[in-house]
Subunit: 199 residues, 2 copies
């Protein structure tokens, strides 16, 4: 068992994921990770280029996994229902993988191809969900940004224990999402009015 665990990059990523989800991203260090893998710190450099590359890989994994969660949730739903479902999936992912999520939002090199691609996939998924509202294309993109802000903001604050008051956090989340959805409907109506004027 001692020298036969055939460590490769995927095992490293797996252990690193466990580590950050259990102890927080800040606790991730070459030393601690090596210890968990029962090898010496320098040995990790045979598999990756350093702590930053590792974090970058975690970031990519995080975005991809988030996308999977949301995709699953969106299947077979549409409209308001779909928006609620992907939102629920988002918060669920962050709660189950706080470290991975943190990695995907805190450090990442935004220029990284693979990361950009993963993020783009999420954007496309949300755009597809919002398609049901028949928004002008530009407005739709603004709404994607809006929903993303809401989801990232809410989950971040929850993770850092930022909601002080003793009031049901899940309820806050539901209300927030519903308020946003109501808002979209209102914006749709306004758009329609403009359309009528313009025609």
């Amino acid at each position: 068992m001692s020298r036969r665990m055939k460590i490769d990059i995927s095992i490293i990523l797996q252990k690193a994921t466990e580590l950050v989800d259990e102890q927080g991203l800040d606790q991730l260090s070459i030393g601690l990770l090596a210890e968990k893998l029962e090898i010496r710190p320098p040995s990790l450099y045979n598999h990756l280029d350093g702590l930053n590359e590792l974090k970058q890989k975690l970031a990519i994994q995080g975005v991809n996994k988030l996308n999977e969660y949301m995709l699953q949730a969106a299947v077979g739903r549409s409209g308001d229902d779909a928006v609620r479902a992907i939102s629920q999936a988002y918060i669920q992912f962050v709660r189950e993988h706080p470290g991975l999520y943190d990695a995907s939002t805190r450090f990442p090199d935004t220029n990284d191809q693979e990361l950009q691609q993963a993020q783009e996939a999420v954007v496309q998924l949300v755009l597809q969900v919002l398609d049901a509202y028949n928004l002008q294309e530009e407005i739709a993109i603004h709404m994607v940004r809006g929903l993303r802000s809401i989801l990232h903001g809410f989950t971040s604050i929850e993770q850092m224990g930022g909601f002080g008051m003793p009031l049901d956090i899940n309820k806050s989340f539901l209300i927030l999402i519903n308020t946003f959805i109501e808002g979209i409907h209102a914006v749709m109506i306004n758009e329609d009015k403009h359309m009528q004027r313009n025609d």
Copy 2:
């Protein structure tokens, strides 16, 4: 000039603030800060207990300053207008003091009395602004959480360069705030309906 700048904690905080706002919170180190103050790193320990305490102080300063910005913006306004104004103040603060804002959201010891007090002040301000909507008290608190999520989420993503597409970010922000406001109005109407049913 050389040895006569009488460094005290407020000068240190001031320089640290400049440093994090210009170079990012991650660049804050005892060494670099000491250099800027033209003293040796260990000398800083005559004034504070270490890097963590410094970050905590920055966090408190950040929340207090954010509160000032929002307070200023809220003066003389009410309703939708006030919501837009404090939102605008929030994003302005984050843009002008990205490092300070980061400090106030990333590391802080949430148990710190002074920090809690500062955060509570912001919450109270927003509650006051939302007073115009005559929401049920509990709903009002949910809405405070919602607005905070929106503001924190949007600004965080903007700061990390997360909005990829070439589409006006300010417009996205305006639309998001307006969508939320519209949502509140819709929720109000629903609440009224419930009231009528219950009477």
